[in-house]
């Protein structure tokens, strides 16, 4: 079953040497692991320069349109840049895919400067991938609860599902009450039985596979899913159909 992956990147990383990060090298690994499509965001955009970073994604999409999908990464600073980027790269995908990384940008996801982005996401039924982390003052999953309520047409992916076991519990608390929220299980922490726990809590239809290619090892997340004690149908939903459903116009 070909995998559709909701969480990847282009670029390198500041605090460790990332390996084999070129698009061609990523494609080799995607072929090896049967990842048909990967949705990418630019790390340069997350950390430092949205304009150059989103242009980098644009180039990759043009070179490999059948393998990559592009998130438009937004930064609340300077004001106005985020909406300008959303408009400039609106051709990436319909509905739009938007990436927020509040931790990198040192700005809380519920801060007023993000409001225009959330308004835009609500109007366009965008898929918004938000980096989340257990109890983080800028990106705790719990901060997304009032946002999910206020912007019900935005589809919010809780990136990394809060990472730690406690972070997962926070993400589940939000997901249980808001059908427009989804758990993205990308991450380096391979908690035993966490996937089974998530499926028991919210079912298999709002959990998405993500690899974090080319920073994290895609086989890591894949191994977690393939060896979890959940049904084959749930595995297929997580690895493929849930994200495809979101990507289709009007899909929830």
């Amino acid at each position: 079953m070909p995998i559709v992956d909701c969480h990847g990147h282009v670029g390198i990383h500041p605090d460790f040497p990332a390996y084999k990060t070129g698009a061609e090298e990523m494609l080799q690994v995607m072929d090896l692991l049967n990842i048909e499509r990967l949705a990418i965001t630019s790390t340069l955009a997350c950390y430092n320069d949205c304009a150059r970073g989103n242009a980098e994604v644009d180039r990759v999409l043009k070179e490999h349109p059948s393998r990559f999908l592009g998130y438009i990464t937004v930064n609340p600073n300077p004001e106005g840049l985020a909406l300008a980027q959303l408009q400039r790269y609106a051709h990436f995908h319909t509905p739009p895919l938007i990436k927020m990384h509040p931790a990198c940008q040192h700005y809380p996801v519920n801060g007023p400067k993000y409001v225009p982005v959330w308004d835009y996401a609500n109007q366009t039924h965008a898929i918004v991938l938000v980096h989340t982390w257990d109890s983080d003052p800028e990106c705790s999953p719990l901060l997304l609860e009032p946002i999910a309520r206020a912007y019900p047409k935005a589809r919010i992916l809780l990136g990394h599902a809060g990472v730690t076991w406690r972070g997962y519990e926070q993400a589940l608390e939000v997901a249980k009450t808001h059908p427009n929220t989804f758990l993205d299980i990308t991450g380096s922490q391979s908690h035993r039985t966490i996937l089974e726990h998530c499926v028991r809590q919210i079912g298999g239809d709002r959990i998405l596979f993500g690899s974090d290619l080319p920073y994290l090892e895609a086989a890591l997340s894949l191994g977690r899913v393939l060896t979890a004690r959940i049904s084959d149908q749930e595995k297929e939903a997580i690895l493929r159909t849930n994200f495809l459903r979101l990507l289709s116009p009007g899909g929830l």
Binding site: D15, P214, L220, S221, L226, T227
Partner: protein, 261 residues
């Protein structure tokens, strides 16, 4: 090990004789919902094709070395190699040595047993471990309450002071290479487990390309983490099959055999 009990995605592990260097047993005050008793742990090892494991005790990690070693003594099993908790005082060295250990684990971090690994504090302990080639496990989590930089400085000093001590670092995380690689170049007795290390994209391949496979040991962090993740990484790494099998268990068995000799 019977292939029929192994997760289908990992079926090819059946004849690999996988040996895991990073397994814990016993009750946990922090991770109680994940802790496994001996029978459940063995069943989980079966499910992931893990034949044998170096096992340490949560009680030693979270509370006291003597209590932890008593707990570990109660969990003896032919598939376990016990990792005895060691402290730097003479009584502890004597009591660990009476167990004729193949593996010792130290919990030196400030939030654990809280002692220095420098010669002035732990010289006799590490002299003893070095003399008998006892594989010494140190988790990088020991240093989480200090800076990563300080943790690596402590390790560098330890390796310099005891150049023949076989050391296995556990739980490195995937952001370690800028510290780890210079240490690997300088200290041939340094080994590390892949439990959290190989989480970075193609990191295992890059490390094997740069340093060979001999210093990498398979570790899962059972029962906290699922072995399905690092095993999938090992299975799909584009490395020679001989390297894959060495990491899966050959390297660790070689280290333990040296201790026996």
């Amino acid at each position: 090990m019977s292939a029929s009990v192994i997760e289908p995605a990992l079926a090819e592990l059946a004849d690999w004789n996988v040996m895991d260097v990073n397994v814990r047993i016993g009750p946990s005050g922090i991770h109680g919902h994940l802790a496994l008793d001996k029978n459940d742990l063995l069943r989980e090892m079966d499910r992931f094709g893990i034949n044998t494991a170096v096992v340490s005790h949560f009680t030693a990690e979270e509370y006291d070395a003597v209590e932890g070693n008593s707990g570990l003594e109660c969990e003896v099993d032919p598939r376990f190699v016990p990792a005895w908790a060691a402290l730097p005082d003479a009584f502890s060295i004597q009591s660990v040595s009476a167990r004729k250990p193949l593996v010792a684990r130290i919990y030196c971090g400030p939030s654990r047993h809280n002692f220095s690994t420098a010669r002035w504090c732990s010289g006799p302990l590490f002299e003893y471990l070095q003399q008998y080639s006892i594989l010494t496990l140190i988790s990088l989590e020991e240093f989480h309450s200090t800076s990563a930089f300080l943790g690596w400085e402590v390790l560098k000093t330890l390796l310099s002071n005891f150049p023949h001590l076989p050391v296995a670092l556990l739980d490195l995380g995937y952001r370690s290479d800028r510290y780890l690689f210079p240490l690997l170049e300088r200290f041939p007795t340094l080994h590390f487990d892949c439990s959290t290390y190989s989480a970075a994209h193609r990191q295992l391949e890059a490390t094997v390309e740069g340093f060979g496979a001999e210093r990498i040991l398979f570790g899962s962090r059972l029962p906290l983490y699922t072995p399905g993740a690092p095993l999938a990484v090992l299975l799909t790494a584009r490395i020679p099959d001989s390297a894959r099998r060495a990491i899966a268990g050959g390297n660790l068995r070689r280290l333990l055999h040296r201790g026996e000799a």
